[in-house]
Symmetry: C2
Subunit: 240 residues, 2 copies
């Protein structure tokens, strides 16, 4: 079966704050595939950005060296804890598409669950085992799940801006239900993109257009091959 990997990231800052405290980076894995690193630094704005930047940088540089995900997450924790004397926390998610093992590896250091959707019926599975943010306690470890790469697989990762969206008006977002509802949107070339944009838009909508926190959404989809060519494509867009 010919498959295609799609990754989509959508990110917005807290209302009236110019800089998002969330950082998302992608990096090629030296043995094939790629890794995504999503970090939410404590608080928002410049100070949060500085935190998420150093954590993402450390994780990305280790992953690029071929360090396994669990070790990269532990190292990012130790590094932040050392740099900031255990005073500052961050959540860290690493999603790796490992073409060596033909699996998607999901590392969580975050209270936010990760949503896994599998198969044509869109069976939902929530990765929500208790997991600790990095930077504070000694020897913090990630919670790691590994899922075989297969057609119609979607992994949805987000920061807690999605969970708190709508809190102000007493209307929370039921992420699994929402994603399930949106699955028909997942068509062709823009599957992951459509899911990520829909979830982010819904969160911003619940915050009445004024996000009460930084919000970031990452979707990794494995779908039937859409493109006839073997071209690898990367796109970035943002207002400047």
């Amino acid at each position: 079966m010919d498959l295609e990997l799609q990754v989509a990231v959508a990110k917005v800052s807290k209302y009236a704050v110019s800089e998002s405290g969330d950082t998302v980076e992608t990096i090629e894995r030296p043995h094939g595939g790629l890794s995504l690193v999503l970090v939410d630094g404590q608080r928002s704005g410049k100070s949060a950005k500085a935190i998420s930047n150093i954590v993402a940088r450390k994780a990305v540089s280790l992953l690029a060296d071929g360090v396994r995900d669990g070790a990269a997450a532990r190292a990012a924790h130790d590094y932040l804890r050392t740099m900031r004397s255990g005073q500052v926390s961050a959540t860290l998610n690493i999603v790796s598409v490992d073409l060596g093992t033909q699996t998607i590896v999901i590392s969580r250091n975050s209270h936010c669950p990760v949503l896994v959707v599998q198969g044509q019926e869109g069976a939902l599975h929530l990765l929500d085992e208790p997991s600790e943010a990095i930077g504070i306690h000694p020897r913090t470890r990630p919670v790691i799940s590994e899922i075989p790469i297969a057609q119609d697989l979607h992994v949805v990762v987000f920061t807690d801006g999605v969970l708190s969206a709508g809190e102000r008006v007493g209307q929370r977002l039921d992420v699994p239900a929402f994603v399930h509802e949106q699955l028909p949107l997942c068509a062709g070339e823009t599957c992951a993109r459509a899911l990520a944009d829909a979830l982010l838009n819904r969160a911003v909508e619940l915050d009445q257009g004024r996000p009460t926190d930084d919000i970031s959404v990452v979707v990794v989809s494995v779908v039937a091959r859409q493109q006839p060519d073997t071209v690898r494509r990367l796109s970035v867009r943002f207002p400047i």
Copy 2:
């Protein structure tokens, strides 16, 4: 004037070689904006990939630390030359969108020119000052150009697979003429994407569907703002 930044990367391997020897990575700049690193490792396949990977990794990790582009390029050169005893070369391009200085900074360590298209008329400017690949000679330096960020600015960077495309059939690609011809394609949300895909497709076509070398194209476009929201978006797609 509200502007939008668009980045598009399109990459294909040499025919019948599973792994491209070119590596492209993006990284956030700690003071705002992003950098793109494009490396073409000597030869093709696994050995070329190993080279381009270590060069890209070194450059990306320095840029993420806030190191200036010229110093990152010099360091990547010194590193490769030390690691491989001056026996192995690579071309290195860094394109940075620096929101601190409001400029696009282009570093070339490659014989491939970089194309700059400016203004509504699409005035073409070729950055083709002699420039040396990294890894071989002592104290190699990049050739650096800096261009103010303005509407309707396009920077087109590519590896030499574009220059050699069609050689086999005695039909070379006139990149400036081709890009100028394609500018009307640059519309709305998909401007950079359309330009990058068109240039890559044309090169592959001239190689009669069987690229004689790895081919990579990077387009950075600054256009009038298309999106009503302030969302930052990143997308990746490739067959697996």
